[in-house]
Structure formats: structure tokens, C-alpha cells
Amino acid sequence: MKKFSPKEILIPTIVLLLICVVSATLLGGTNMLTKDKIASIEAEAKASAMQEVMPDAVSFSEAVEADEKLEYSVAFDKENNAIGYAFTVSENGYGGEIKVMVGLDTNGAVTKIAVLSANNETPGLGQNIKKASFLDQFIGKKGELSVVKNAPADNEIQAITSATISSSAVTRTVNAAIEYYNENLAGGENNG
């Protein structure tokens, strides 16, 4: 290998360094411009999901973090009475994490659920958990739910064809919310 003169090493280094500095500055600038917008979009998506699962609520409390997989907000009506809870629960689906918003009324029954994110589920199969025909099965359910493949009885949820794992992941999030409610929130009328 031939010897490098100092100049031969210095010039490439400086050029590369300059390119890095310029691009880092540009990125910092773009980040400053878009940061707030991105944060507000995320907050907005969450707020609209909360409203969707608790349609009667007028306002929500700040989120309370129960553990790293579960957090909840208390929903209030016009007179500031607690009318239910909006849980955000994560679980492992088929291809990675899925996040579900679960609404429970003060009796611990499901008002409605919505899928917040399921990016890694298979399109055409696992992604079908976002369909209303599947999600609406949960409305009004109470207590431990299980997933079945044929016609469901009480406290049973019919899995989506060829997406049993994604279906049962959603069911587990609902179970987690109900379980948390029964253990920590049931009975107390004015939590929050």
C-alpha cells in the first residue's frame, strides 16, 4: 500500500465533515419546523380515538400510566361526573406491537374499542382487525373474553378468518383493560 500524504487524508476528512455539518443543520431546521405539527397530529389522533370509544364524554382527565403496557384517562360528562374510562393498551400481535383504545363504562362494560396502531400486521389478514364488523363484537362485553373460530357465545369473540393471532391480541388488550378496571377502579365512584 502506498503512503498517504497528510493532504490526501486531510482534504477528504474536511469535505466529509463539512457535508455532515451542513446536513445536520438542515435536519435540525426541518425538525424544528415539523416537530410541533407531528406532536399535535399524534395528540389529535389519540383525542379523536378517545372520543370515539366514549362518545358521551365531554372531557377527559390526564392519562394515568398504570404500567408500560397500559394507561387510562377518566371520561367526564357535562356535569363533570365520571362516566367511564378510556384505556390505551399495547400487546404483541402477529408482526409486532399493536395498540388498542378500549372504552369502559362505570360498570366495567365495553362501550367501544378502536385500533390505534397495528402497523406490522399482515395487510389483508391481520389488518382486518380494524374493521367494524370485528370491533363491534366487543361492545357491551364484560368479564374475561376468549377467542373462538366458530359462532361465538357470551363472552366469546369470533376471530377473523386466518388472523386468529391478531384477533386474540386485540382480545387480550380488552381483557387487560377489564382486569385493571376490576382490580383497581371498580367500586370507587369518583376516581380521578
Binding site: 446536513s23 445536520a24 435536519l27 435540525g28 426541518t30 425538525n31 404483541n92 402477529y94 408482526g95 409486532g96 406491537e97 406490522n120 399482515t122 386466518s162 386468529t164 393471532i165 386474540s168 391480541a169
Partner: protein, 196 residues
């Protein structure tokens, strides 16, 4: 522990990096014609993947702490490129046999989306260091499994009478489709083993 095994099995079978997530298709199609090149390439990929995960994990912590998470892509790709170069130099100098086996694949790995893909995925899923390493290993082994299996399939295909217009890449892709289809059958394995 159960979760770690689940990660490994998922990377290997249910969410195979190549066949169901489409990372690293170029080498999968390009260097899978012979078994030994397939093994060499995937060994090099596993090696670089593990090194890249180990190197980017602390760097990412640093970036997040300083509110610089938006630099992730730029920093990670540079780390990977530098790492590949360094590994190449070290191997060439100190481990000649290994260099002879893996050397020619190393420069190709910088632009292999499987490596950057797994690093970004680890960050996205918020894995701990151990989880990230296991996930990377699963992804790498999954890559190797797909490469080796596919090399076998292509060897068989050599002696087949393939219609003229399908010869070459088209039939290779259709064969890949069938291999991918067979991996669908592993779908329930993680849940079936009670790992989730």
C-alpha cells in the same frame, strides 16, 4: 425468557425477514444460486447485523437523551458503513481465513436494507439491549434459513425444463413466492407453543 424465545422463533419462521418482511431481497435473489455463497453471505450479514445492533444501541440512547432522535437514519447508516469498513480491515489483517470466506460480501452489506432495517426496527419497537440482540439474531438466522432453503430450491430448478419466457429472474421470483407461501404455514407456531 419466554418472550426472548418468541422473538427468536418469530424472526426465524413467522415473520421471516426476507420472506414476509421483504428485507434484503437483493442478496436473496442475487447470491442464492450456490449453497456456499448463500451461507457465506448470510454469515457475513448475521455478523454485521449483530455488531450494528450492539453499536447503535448506546448511540441511540445518546441521541434520544439529547433530543436528536431525528438524526437516527443518518447516524445509523454511517455507523453501519464505518463498521463494515472496519470489520473488513480487521478481518483482512488478523483473520485471513475468515476474510477469505466473508470478505467479498462485506462491501455489499452496507446497502443491504436488512441491516439498517433491523436496527431501525429495534429502535421502533423500543426493545431493551438483550431483546434487541435476540431480535437481531432471529432476523439474521431467518435470513440465513431463507437463503439456504432457496439455494436448495434453485439447485433443483437448474435441471428443470422451464418455458423460455420464464427463464431467469421470473421463475426465480415465482419460486420465491412458493417458498414464502410455505412459510405462511408457521403462522400459529408462536401462539401454539404458548410463547405469547
Amino acid at each position: 425468557m419466554k418472550y426472548l424465545i418468541a422473538l427468536l422463533v418469530m424472526g426465524l419462521l413467522t415473520n421471516n425477514f426476507v420472506l414476509s418482511k421483504f428485507y434484503g431481497i437483493c442478496p436473496f435473489l442475487g447470491v442464492s444460486k450456490k449453497l456456499n455463497t448463500a451461507v457465506g453471505m448470510s454469515a457475513a450479514v448475521i455478523f454485521v447485523m449483530l455488531m450494528a445492533t450492539a453499536a447503535t444501541y448506546p448511540i441511540n440512547q445518546l441521541l434520544v437523551k439529547n433530543d436528536l432522535a431525528f438524526l437516527q437514519t443518518v447516524v445509523f447508516i454511517l455507523v453501519i458503513a464505518a463498521l463494515v469498513q472496519m470489520v473488513e480491515i480487521v478481518l483482512k489483517k488478523f483473520m485471513k481465513p475468515l476474510y477469505n470466506a466473508l470478505g467479498i460480501y462485506l462491501p455489499l452489506i452496507t446497502t443491504n436494507c436488512a441491516v439498517l432495517g433491523v436496527v431501525l426496527l429495534n429502535v421502533d419497537e423500543g426493545y431493551t439491549f438483550v431483546q434487541a440482540m435476540v431480535n437481531t439474531l432471529g432476523a439474521g438466522l431467518g435470513f440465513m434459513l431463507a437463503m439456504v432453503l432457496f439455494a436448495g430450491v434453485r439447485k433443483k430448478m437448474e435441471n428443470c425444463d422451464i418455458p423460455e419466457f420464464l427463464q431467469g429472474l421470473p421463475i426465480t421470483l415465482i419460486a420465491a413466492s412458493l417458498v414464502s407461501l410455505s412459510f405462511l404455514g408457521f403462522g400459529g407456531i408462536v401462539e401454539g407453543m404458548g410463547l405469547i
